[in-house]
């Protein structure tokens, strides 16, 4: 099954080729770009399907790459069925995003590099998924960071886009300090970067904690989650790509991949669990208060990734991966549908929407399916996977897992509580955005500022469902969002993920009650005061929640400003001390030279006196020392 190499290689190579295409927005130039982009994702998808169907055992390929000193690096592919399912999700979402982007960016002059960068992004993620070597993982991991930077900053008319792009790269890069060091420790311990060799060594807890820092950065876990909401400045298909299949999934996947190591370290799992619990609640609470449609979804991603890391922390990598797959489906669906909404109404703000259902029935039902899956409504996909996470957490509270019992409790309570909140904000989004009356010409009059800038765009008279290239990806993504949960009943899928058979017991009741309570509360608020955002009920806490608990400010104050001040100080030292010493040496030498030159020009009597004085001095020295000798 050497074809597995093609899974990451094809999108990477086609992405590189795409970068060479000349820019420009006429059709002849767009077509090759779109072809390369779609072909890359499609080939990956087909190859993945092929390997998945025909490979009976895990594919292991490895070739010597380079040796640095005693460390041998290999260029390797190592994919089991679990990895193939993830690759399948990545390639599928990427393919849909590519097709969708053709229509979404139909008049963007920089479409060609955009499509190529998506291909690179996809290829990098697939490299992380399929690599059998830690360095391969690092390569894919970092290329993703760079591509996310390029794509988030794509939109030239959004003033906040460049800053958001820089933030996304720098924050994840701060996490990557840890990741790189963690990888360095693992490689040095194993003397090789092959995953199989690394996994065979007993790990240092420090190395695992360092890896977790990188995971927190990539997967937007507290406290390095701050880049993700800002990353909404990127075009909406990119948000779908980042949130569903690439980037944020990479962190979870890497922990899954290294799970044999994490399994041996209760401390690392405890840290992961606490991080997950905080992230789950932080994301859920922040999602409650957002007015920006995409930001609601962004914070919900933060929260849902928390479920995945929580599942990893309580010892159930299978549940984490299952949730990763269902989340990929419904979050891609939600973002692509959100793109359709934004495309139609020309704004991101929920307060400018309302009453969209009658104009955009397809999008509305897509949202119903996506939000239902997000909230965990049975029998949609999210219900099954979230149930798995909750069961695993509940199981961990009984002890017997590597993680301490209290970690099980923390994760379980946070996850349970967040079920209710998720239901609340999902319901609010649906009701406030799609039902009621249109607020497009709201109380403040029709002249709102157009905060949307994903594509050059003229607002249609009435919002309508998107064109075919955008509609079909949405419709096709509804299928897994609804049905993927039932895959837990398919034995082949279960063995691949090492998932337990779903057993719906009394334990299901509690989350369902919370779900119903959350949804009802949102509905009741919406119903009780028509025309008012249910989030108004948050009262004075709303600005705090909307700002994500002001963690941005804290990060600014504790990290960004000190670094800036330090940079200023170092620059001052460099010019005033280090360079001044050099320049000072120069000027001093010149001055001494000038003084000596002057001394040679003094008038004759003084010079004669100086010569005589010198002779006298020498004579005296000679006599003194001569006498002493």
């Amino acid at each position: 099954m050497n074809a597995a190499v093609l899974i990451p290689a094809v999108p990477l190579l086609l992405g590189l080729a795409g970068l060479l295409l000349p820019p420009g927005d006429d059709t002849q130039r767009r077509r090759p770009a779109a072809t390369l982009g779609i072909a890359g994702a499609a080939v990956s998808l087909l190859v993945t399907l092929g390997v998945l169907l025909f490979a009976t055992k895990p594919v292991e390929l490895s070739a010597h790459w380079v040796s640095l000193g005693d460390i041998d690096l290999t260029l390797g592919i190592s994919v089991g069925h679990a990895a193939l399912y993830v690759a399948l999700a990545v390639a599928t979402v990427a393919l849909f995003v590519q097709i969708y982007s053709v229509a979404y960016l139909h008049d963007d002059p920089r479409y060609a590099p955009y499509a190529a960068q998506i291909s690179l992004f996809t290829g990098a993620m697939l490299l992380v998924v399929t690599s059998g070597d830690l360095i391969g993982v690092v390569v894919g991991w970092e290329i993703m960071g760079a591509c996310s930077y390029l794509l988030i900053g794509h939109d030239r008319r959004l003033p906040e886009a460049p800053a958001a792009a820089v933030k996304a790269f720098v924050v994840t890069r701060v996490g990557d300090i840890g990741f790189l060091l963690g990888v360095a420790f693992l490689i040095v311990d194993a003397g090789s970067s092959r995953l199989a060799d690394v996994l065979a060594q007993p790990p240092h807890t420090a190395a695992l904690l360092l890896i977790l820092a990188g995971v927190a950065g990539k997967s937007a876990q507290f406290p390095l989650h701050t880049w993700l909401p800002d990353a909404m400045a990127g075009p909406t298909p990119i948000s779908a790509l980042i949130h569903a299949a690439t980037m944020v999934a990479a962190g979870v996947y890497v922990v899954f991949r290294l799970y044999p190591l994490f399994e041996q370290s209760p401390a690392a799992l405890a840290v992961l669990g606490v991080m997950a619990a905080i992230t789950i609640l932080l994301g859920a609470f922040s999602a409650m208060a957002q007015d920006d449609l995409k930001r609601v979804l962004a914070w919900s991603t933060v929260s849902q990734i928390g479920y995945m890391t929580g599942a990893l922390a309580v010892g159930s990598p299978a549940a984490a991966l299952f949730h990763l797959l269902t989340h990929a489906a419904f979050k891609a669906l939600l973002f692509l549908a959100a793109g359709a909404v934004i495309h139609a109404v020309g704004t991101n703000y929920l307060s400018r929407m309302g009453g969209l259902r009658e104009h955009m029935p397809v999008t509305f039902w897509a949202f119903v399916a996506g939000l239902g899956a997000l909230a965990g409504l049975p029998p949609l996909a999210g219900f099954w996977s979230k149930e798995n996470v909750l069961t695993a957490a509940a199981h961990a509270t009984e002890g017997g897992e590597t993680a301490p019992v209290w970690v099980g409790w923390v994760v379980w309570i946070a996850a349970l509580f967040a079920v209710g909140i998720t239901a609340w904000y999902a319901t609010r989004l649906l009701l406030w955005g799609f039902l009621g009356h249109s607020r497009a010409h709201g109380a403040d009059g029709p002249d709102w500022e157009v905060g949307f800038d994903d594509a050059r765009y003229t607002r249609p008279a009435a919002p309508h469902d998107p064109p075919g290239a955008m509609r079909w990806p949405i419709l096709l993504l509804v299928i897994p969002s609804v049905l993927l949960g039932l895959a837990a009943y398919a034995p082949g899928f279960r063995t691949a993920l090492e998932l337990d058979e779903p057993h719906l017991s009394v334990a299901v009741v509690l989350p369902l009650i919370l779900l119903a309570a959350g949804a009802t509360a949102a509905w009741w608020l919406w119903r009780a005061v028509p025309g008012v955002d249910p989030a108004m009920a948050l009262g004075r806490t709303r600005p705090l929640l909307a700002a994500g608990f002001r963690l941005d400010d804290i990060q600014n104050r504790l990290l960004v400003r000190p670094v800036r001040a330090l940079a200023r100080a170092v620059l001052t030292v460099d010019t005033r001390v280090v360079d001044a010493a050099v320049e000072g040496t120069g000027t001093t030498t010149s001055r001494v030279g000038a003084a000596l030159a002057y001394a040679h020009r003094i008038p004759l009597p003084a010079a004669a006196a100086a010569v005589l004085a010198g002779a006298l001095l020498l004579g005296a020295v000679a006599v003194l020392f001569g006498a002493a000798a």
């Binding site: 640095l68 460390i71 820089v166 040095v188 940079a567």
Partner: protein, 499 residues
């Protein structure tokens, strides 16, 4: 292969001589001739690569730090124990090739655009003299000869900066030449110390410390380290660099950053670690600390820079810090990372200086505040700048990653509290590097477009000069063994001597 070895040195030297005879009015013909000479130099350089196989089998038998593929050895001044001893091996070959390549590219670039200040003929001739001097430094296998070539480089570089530079060029050139002369004096002292104590200047015989006493090695290494630290440059001996780079013409900056700095790091490996391993071991912690200080200081200063070329110049301080950290770690991984980092920095920073020069020539300013919107006005140029910046911040898959990541790995490998701390700090420096390069990109490529003084389209000559660097950056990133293939045996021999 001896012929090829001599040709590598003689072709550029003869070329410079021929150009000197050209009448001033045939300026463009002279530039063409110079470019041809530089291109012809690549032929013997390419031939040398084939010499490797002949010496290949010999490596495993006895680990010797210097076992050249091709050698040329005649006695020159017996009284001074000076031999004209040239040779090339895995450590020096990548740098020789890099020098040849960058010189051709710079000459070709000069065909298209001669910076204001003097005739193109003289500039190309000086570039050829520079090439001969730099190649001589990398090829010399005799300490005194090494010193001679090391010095030969100084004056033409001074002339390039002082003749074709920016407004403040004289001061910058003077600072460059005086500062590096100060380093050279120390190098001379070191060379004399070693040659007198050992009775020979032959690097092949001196490799591994020969019979030098411990105290001689300490003294020699201290002198060598200081001399090469000025050249590399290592913080806090770096302040000549930003001035020289900011004022130098584009081709001067490319050669300066691309290969001239490498003479320092190469010297540290071949002469410093090679001749005085005990001294290296003794000074390693200090060297490591200073290297990490350079990484952090370079990155922090870059965060505050407002001028394009100055920023890139300071970024060199940080990058060379990674190279020196690799050397200071004194294990095979670190030394190989350093050799790779050397070449990668030469390719990437060469490209960055080309691009910075192109932007400055067009916008007539290098102030970041006055630049902006390059991706609107010149998507190709912006794309190339983005590529170079991302390569320079160490994106895996491109050349810059290996040297930096594995310098960190080498420090971790060395172990112990100090080295792990240094590894952590160096990794933090890596994140800061990302921060300042993204700041650069944000200022230059994003934002509202600035009025254009000249057309922004990339000309054919520029593509010609830049594309080899782009391709090699990618190639070395994907296949680092292009550089490392032949280094493992000599590096292993070097580290053997440390045990």
């Amino acid at each position: 292969m001896t012929v090829a070895l001599l040709a590598v040195l003689l072709v550029p030297a003869v070329g410079a001589g021929v150009l000197a005879l050209f009448p001033a009015r045939l300026d463009s013909a002279a530039r063409l001739t110079g470019t041809i000479f530089a291109a012809v130099t690549l032929i013997p350089i390419a031939l040398l690569a084939f010499a490797r196989d002949e010496a290949w089998s010999a490596y495993s038998a006895t680990p010797l730090a210097v076992r050249p593929w091709a050698e040329f050895d005649v006695s020159w001044v017996p009284a001074l124990r000076l031999d004209f001893h040239l040779g090339v091996d895995g450590v020096s070959y990548p740098l020789v090739a890099l020098t040849g390549l960058l010189t051709v590219l710079c000459c070709a670039y000069t065909m298209w655009r001669v910076p204001a200040g003097g005739s193109g003929r003289t500039l190309v001739a000086l570039l050829l003299v520079l090439e001969a001097g730099i190649l001589g430094t990398f090829l010399a296998l005799d300490l005194i000869l090494f010193f001679l070539f090391f010095e030969v480089v100084l004056l033409p570089m001074y002339a390039v900066i002082a003749g074709w530079g920016g407004e403040d060029r004289r001061r910058a050139a003077r600072k460059f030449v005086l500062y590096t002369l100060f380093g050279s004096v120390l190098l001379l002292l070191g060379v004399i110390t070693v040659t007198v104590a050992a009775g020979t200047g032959d690097l092949a015989r001196l490799a591994g410390g020969a019979d030098l006493s411990r105290s001689t090695q300490y003294a020699a290494f201290a002198l060598f380290a200081l001399a090469f630290a000025v050249k590399a440059p290592l913080w806090p001996l770096h302040t000549w660099l930003p001035d020289a780079h900011t004022q130098a013409p584009t081709v001067g900056s490319v050669i300066l950053a691309g290969v001239l700095l490498k003479m320092g790091t190469y010297g540290l490996i071949r002469v410093g670690v090679g001749v005085a391993p005990l001294g290296a071991e003794w000074a390693a912690p200090l060297l490591g600390i200073l290297a990490v200080a350079a990484i952090l200081a370079g990155a922090l200063i870059c965060l505050r820079q407002t001028e394009l070329k100055r920023l890139i110049a300071y970024s060199s301080v940080g990058h060379m810090g990674f190279v020196l950290l690799g050397i200071a770690a004194l294990n095979a991984t670190g030394l190989q990372a350093a050799l790779l980092g050397n070449v990668a920095h030469g390719l990437i920073t060469g490209l960055l200086f080309f691009l910075a020069g192109a932007i400055k020539d067009r916008a007539h300013t290098g102030e970041l505040a006055d630049l902006g919107g390059l991706r609107e006005t010149a998507p190709r140029l912006a794309g190339l700048l983005g590529f170079a910046a991302i390569a320079s911040l160490g994106l895996p898959g491109l050349a810059g990653f290996w040297g930096e990541a594995f310098a960190v790995v080498a420090a971790v490998q060395r172990g112990g509290g100090l080295w792990v701390t240094l590894a952590v700090l160096a990794a933090i420096g890596g994140a800061l590097t990302a921060a300042y390069f993204l700041r650069l990109l944000r200022k230059v490529t994003h934002g509202p477009a600035v009025a254009v003084a000249e057309p922004y389209a990339v000309t054919r000559a520029e593509w010609l000069a830049w594309s080899p660097l782009v391709v090699l950056t990618l190639a070395v990133g994907v296949a680092p063994s292009l550089v490392l293939a032949a280094t493992s045996a000599p590096v292993r021999a070097l580290t053997e001597a440390l045990r």
